[in-house]
Symmetry: D2
Subunit: 416 residues, 4 copies
């Protein structure tokens, strides 16, 4: 991974790392081999846990042999076959009925599942933290700002609630995503799977082939379905959902960055030991988490668009380059989203709200913040009666905060 | 609209045209004004159909006055007020409680609804046409191709079914989209709405403000909810769904373009009178619909990504430029998607399938297309028994076609 | 044009408007027809100014007939031929030897030339304004800010000089761009041109064909050269240069937006009558020019990337959709860049620098701003001797401002 | 690096790898330290080759400590200081006067220089190979194709020449790029550098600071100049030039992919041992190099656009996230471009041209390919005289090939 140039990358651990993808490719092969035996297609001595044969320690070898086939699966299969013994039952039955796209797409779904599990956990924590902030600060008056200028009073509670809306939009979508296994064979007909079934005596080889796909998917814990070699909505929806997360995180980070400017000073990141330091200026405490979250938010959309472009450029029964652009894009997007999620969780957990400063700034700006209200006075029976009390011009902020908190409670109920 | 440089633009008619957006902005103002009166906030003589005052004929004037406010709403409101008479009841109550973002966001949702209606209609036609093709050609053998090379036999039916999967992925999502109204006032608190309610004697002005928003939304036929000024998933989901459509159309067009190359000649676009001609070569019949659909598919992802970037760059209670990038991006994406949808509908309706040529090419390539099968023979009891009959090596193609057709039938049931 | 949803669009006037592109297509045809006659290929009565026959008034008709051919040229040629009389000398010789890509690419280059002329004029004004600001404010002390936090003192002069560097980087590139004519015929061999030359008795038809291309290019004031139908660096360089302009404008606008926040208040846009108003808040004076410039800067990169994608997807002697994505992208990018340029020119001309507020903020933050200096004191013989005078810690700011001003002077010398 | 999911990555070796960037950061610190001593600012015992202290073996530690500072420089400096001994002369003087952006930007320029060196070498080989192909095949007749359909005859020589134009457009730009060092200190004023100069007794500390920057740049072999912390054309120009390379490679790969379809079979990739194999279909020889080159071409534009977005979002004296998106984007783009360059070089070196098949296809299509010519016959004195000989309808192909070959010769002269 490009860890050096993406500070915080380690927060994603092994999620969709090269090693994790390799493990997942081997798991896909293992599940298929087991299904071949379970359906009586392959002999009982064929299946084994292929993870015993090839693992992350083989990354360099696998990687170095991948270009010739255009993808890493061919070299994984070759290595597995070598190590199992090409004439052993395992070596003979391995990968029979599959195509490399089956293995790589399924592996990416397995990795994506772990990524979504992590993101859902982060979301639950974030939603709880933000709900607490929105609730606690429903009476914390501050200046609302539009187009950089002070507009009308708001509460910090309703600002937090608007952050929370974005998080919930992203989080709810994570819950809905489907990550199906991919088992279709060379051109999506399961022809080789049916053929090996027939060779083994199946009287309904097509049905056996579908059964193989269903069993292998079930063993991996993924939904089965028709192959999606060239219908890539599975991939684009995943990408869109990931970038919807970084959109939501970025929107929060932007506010923290703006409001932690010293001239505004209404929010601060928690000053963890050693964080935010400068290489040369000892006084600096930079809002580093927010900077790095914003980084991810600015970088996400183009990567997700790459996945759409791959879908749009699909052709034939497997495209000539478009598919190949997906793997790295998905890996980058997934890991960066996890990193940003973890940073956002920490950011929210430690966020310091300077309520007095909010109030003081708003009070000093009261004449401007209440100008809209004054402009409405002519509509009433008694022009000029409008109070100048900021807290009295918050409209339905309370009710809107409640509505968002209700939604958060429902999400947390579902998620728990 | 940039009609000259986007041939086929006229297929989108007035959907999300400048004129349509203007009409929708005026409709949003009309609905709000009516709600003000219906809740007793404004007097009974305030509401009127503002479309009588300002319409597409005023586009040039509205547009020319928009820069000063940074968006077109301010000039629309000014023009409405001028024409209603600034001191008339309509002129006095117009736009009270709203902010320009409310009006423009709501207007875009209204236009998007019409766009989705049209896309759903196109989808229904496309799904029917493709289901018919998939069913009719389940026994039409052709060469499956991967990475540009002949791979194993497939049927044209399963190819059509894979196109159909992509269409259904996109079409089902169109059914699920929510396009909420936006009514929040200057900073999303409904403060001005509550204020005018209070001035008119409401004892629960916050509740009245929420009621105003609910009524105005209902009058427009849009769902109500908390304001989403800076939580832009509504916009990004819409953009993602639109580009998921062009992804699916593009994938079809790519196959038509490839398979209508004269050296392959397995598909042709219907030769409508005068279509596909060249400015200089009289023999040419270019697959123009596919070319133009592919154009839209290549251009879509970057525009949808722009909407994500806007979401990711949101800040304060209204951002300083990010929001402003959304309008034109959404308009382009929506109109181009409609154009591509209509072209795809026509493409599918007229698609000519050269079944003999498919068969002849596959037969000539049979040795290669059946190589996978031969390679499996050693797994059986009787190596070499594998027939060389292409139709016998289609695996579960029949069953997979059926599965996709079932899904199409469910979609059409839902959609009807 | 999508004028309603891109406020300020009218600043671009007719530059690369649909009408301008149509006029330029007709001009390309006129120049070619004249060259045919000048080389003796066509008779003397063939050439005429085709602008008399077709012009912006025909946009609707041309546009409506463009889809069938996939581009607008075929319908322009048909209309020209109709109006000239298909059997007239003009009607018979019109477009002979050309292909539609020749006409459209050349037309876009003609329009791009006008765009660059305008941008160069704006650049000259901007550079002069910024050079003046940088020079005038070389002693205006303010807080330097990094990662949103106050860092060390700077002068507003050096900030303006850094803006100026970006402008010069963009402006110098505009000077270097080449916009060649495109004359290659159906597949870039000039075969039809040579053929008509041969038919007219040319003994060296290939040479005559090249001569035709050279003459037509010269008549249009564009450089000639080999056809570039599928070698699209001409287009991508133009796009990159345009977005380099909006990058530079955006960087300025971002600073103005930040520094005109009321809590910072170090810069303001000039408050032109009526500008920056809100639809509801009477006190608001929004930095509208900066908002709109930032909008263009956020939207530019994805459009320029579309041009690269078109180049990367080129295939055959004319691609099947990639080329078709270029036209609208180039139009959008060009017009938006011109609009942003004009807004930036006005922004710089009216920029108000609040020098006292800069100084006051910096003074109040002096302890922090000078912390780096204090941290260096241990390196000297006399720790602690460092003065706390902000103006004494500006390093080589003077010299750096001078270096940028020198560069600006050289640019202005070249440009004049 | 994400080697597993970008097959062929190893072709880029260590170019702009994490290790190379780390080495380059240390080299920038070494050069600055040496300059401090050479100007008499630091004592003579301060400088040393810091590569002795920190190197690629420390990547894990450096990376793991980078998030706190938001970039890797702070942890590199900390590690260098620890290892040099914080109280040693080296430890005390290290990094004095610099900011982390200076070190990282300069390091990226050093790595980019190596990348450009490699790309220029690949370009020279590619240009030679293509010039040879263009020259050899100037009489090899084939069908020209537009919008996927056969158009008019061309030679393979002129097709190769059009590929060559694209390569030259990219290659010439690589020669022109400037990669300046970045030395500006915390806010681009060189204040700390001037301060340490003053502390060491310099009477003209600003001049000494500029001298330090010039010396350090010279030691690294990079041009010096004013800091460009927020004027990012250096980065965007580099990115644009890289993607212009992959645009050119992709355009070639697209043609190879199309023309190596078995139904066309006019070109083949060299069948290197073991390359292009399938995981399941023994007969397959996939055009893997072209697939992987096309992959890079499809993925490049969005990454280069990310660099423009970073430039457009710059703010303050160092931006709050935009800068942070550049590093990884530049690394990806640079490495992928080198991989694609090497693959293109190999592709061109081994390209097999099936001249008989080209001719046979063109002959079989002669009636259509000559239709344009026939349509011109009415312009001559003797309608119908046009020969049907394909080779006689190549227009100025010879002359155009010569023009491109001349340009290639000039490039190779310059490059040698």
């Amino acid at each position: 991974m490009t860890a050096l140039l993406w500070p915080g990358d380690e927060r994603a651990g092994e999620l969709m790392s090269d090693g994790a993808v390799l493990i997942a490719m081997v798991a896909a092969e293992t599940a298929w081999l087991a299904a071949l035996a379970a359906t009586g297609v392959a002999p009982a001595d064929a299946p084994r846990d292929l993870a015993e044969l090839v693992g992350p320690g083989d990354l360099t070898e696998v990687t170095g042999r991948s270009e010739a086939g255009g993808n890493p699966v061919i070299s994984v299969v070759a290595l597995l076959r070598e190590r199992a013994g090409p004439h052993s039952s395992t070596g003979r039955w391995l990968h029979r009925g599959l195509t490399s796209q089956d293995v790589l797409d399924t592996a990416l779904m397995l990795c994506a599942r772990d990524v979504l599990d992590r993101l859902r956990a982060e979301s639950a924590t974030q939603v709880a933290a933000l709900a607490e902030l929105a609730d606690r600060h429903r009476d914390t008056v501050m200046a609302g700002r539009t187009l950089t200028q002070q507009a009308v009073p708001i509460s910090f509670g309703i600002k937090a609630a608007s952050w929370l809306q974005g998080l919930l939009d992203a989080a709810e979508e994570l819950t809905d995503l489907t990550l199906p296994a991919q088992f279709g064979g060379a051109a999506g007909t399961l022809a080789a799977a049916a053929e090996v079934a027939a060779l083994s005596g199946s009287v309904e080889p097509a049905k056996t082939a579908l059964d193989l796909a269903a069993r292998a998917a079930a063993a991996l814990g993924l939904p089965a379905g028709p192959p999606w070699h060239t219908a890539r909505a599975t991939i684009t929806r995943l990408g869109d959902a990931l970038v919807r997360c970084t959109d939501a995180y970025g929107r929060i980070a932007n506010d923290v960055l703006t409001l932690s400017r010293p001239e505004i000073a209404e929010l601060s990141e928690s000053a963890a030991a050693g964080r935010g330091g400068s290489s040369t200026m000892p006084q600096k405490v930079n809002p580093v988490l927010s900077v790095l979250v914003r980084r991810a938010a600015l970088a996400g959309p183009a990567v997700a668009a790459q996945l759409h472009l791959a879908a749009a450029a699909a052709v034939d029964e497997r495209p000539d380059g478009a598919w190949h652009t997906e793997w790295s894009a998905l890996q980058l997007l997934a890991r960066r989203t996890v990193v940003a999620a973890a940073q956002t969780t920490e950011l929210l957990a430690g966020l310091i709200v300077h309520t007095e400063r909010m109030r003081a700034t708003a009070d000093a700006a009261a004449a401007g913040l209440m100008a809209e209200r004054r402009s409405l006075a002519d509509l009433g029976p008694d022009p000029g009666s409008g109070s100048n009390d900021l807290a009295s011009y918050l409209g339905a902020a309370e009710e809107l905060v409640d509505a968002v908190l209700d939604r958060a409670a429902r999400y947390r109920g579902v998620g728990s």
